[in-house]
Symmetry: C2
DNA sequence: AAAAAATGTTGACATAGGACAATCTTTATA
DNA sequence: TATAAAGATTGTCCTATGTCAACATTTTTT
């Protein structure tokens, strides 16, 4: 059950077995259905999730009812409504599993307790933040000035599995284009 | 000289005078001219900058010679070419002071040494990353689906001083619109 | 398995904002 | 201070992509 998480940690930091066990002991298993909502608009996010199997999606719904996908975490990666998790303010977004999924969950309290007591875990969190920051930067500046075709080519180059795993509608809303436009572009590739 | 930096740190973490002095001792003063380049395209970023006075800008120039502004740091904040600073890969971007500025500079080596030895400093860096992450998210998702007018309104609401401090050209390239469009919008506000 | 709902595709049309160019204004340089 | 260079503004025109609608396909529910 913890195999993937252990691999994740060991590939990023040298750590003793005892501490690794301590970390794992703070995560519990959670099985979810397709389209199950984990965090709602007004919730304050209290958990960090690790995806063993499936996929979680972070998204918003605006006043016109249009969904915008913000972030996807696939197998072997962490995800949550991070701004709310950090600041403990309402998320103003939704977190869901878009497929039947196996997750590992840790509470915020336990998470920060591990961050504060296990240097290797602190380092891993710092790396998640650094990487998240860099990814966000690339997303902003990669997309700045890109037209629809270039955005699609970018996502194919950077996350080859993305268009295969995610519905057109979700993919389009992630790329900031309409499903019609994405459909037209795909037919010409 | 260190007043602003000390205020920055003390407002974010409880810290003893001794450690505060140690931190300050690792920063040295740097006076720069308007449009002085601090980091070039092929450089690997080796310094973190704190702005006492003036403003630093991070930007790129694409193959057609068009500049895109990525980030601005004004008085009392930190800035650098963070992805390169973190990963020690070429920046592929430029860092400059857009006005005559007074900066404090710390080397990467000293910076990470402070992160690893002074918990309060580690916490501040983590906060910078968390905040940077949140800001980047807001920038992405705030702008996703915004038209030009909404982008301008957003920047006025979120960084009121921005349009006053920064040239039209730089502001437009930050917002991902042309100077013409920005000009037209401002005339209708 | 049938019916209903959601999603995907494709066409016709409309429009926001980019490209380019002509001034005007501010800033830099000699 | 004069001249040159860079930036800002505004007009005209054009294109990428959005909107809306019709139909096709896939998924969900009964």
């Amino acid at each position: 059950m913890y195999d993937s998480l252990i691999r994740y940690i060991q590939s990023r930091a040298a750590i003793e077995k005892e501490q690794l066990d301590l970390i794992c002991s703070r995560f519990s298993a959670l099985k979810t259905k397709r389209n199950e909502i984990l965090v709602r608009y007004d919730d304050i996010c209290q958990h960090y999730y690790f995806v063993n199997k499936g996929c979680i999606r972070l998204f918003t719904i605006n006043k016109e009812g249009i969904e915008t996908s913000r972030f996807f975490a696939f197998e072997g990666s962490f995800g949550t409504a991070l701004p709310s998790f950090i600041d403990q303010k309402p998320t103003f977004e939704y977190l869901q599993t878009i497929e039947k999924s196996d997750l590992l969950v840790i509470s915020r309290t336990d998470f920060y307790q591990l961050v504060d007591t296990i240097p290797a875990f602190e380092m891993i969190y710092r790396e998640i933040l650094e990487l998240g920051f860099i990814t966000a930067q690339k997303r902003i500046y990669g997309f700045q000035g890109f037209n629809a075709l270039e955005k699609v080519q970018w996502i194919i180059a950077n996350q080859p599995q993305f268009l295969l795993r995610v519905s057109n509608k979700m993919a389009a809303s992630y790329l900031g284009i309409t499903p019609s436009t994405l459909s037209r572009i795909k037919s010409k590739l």
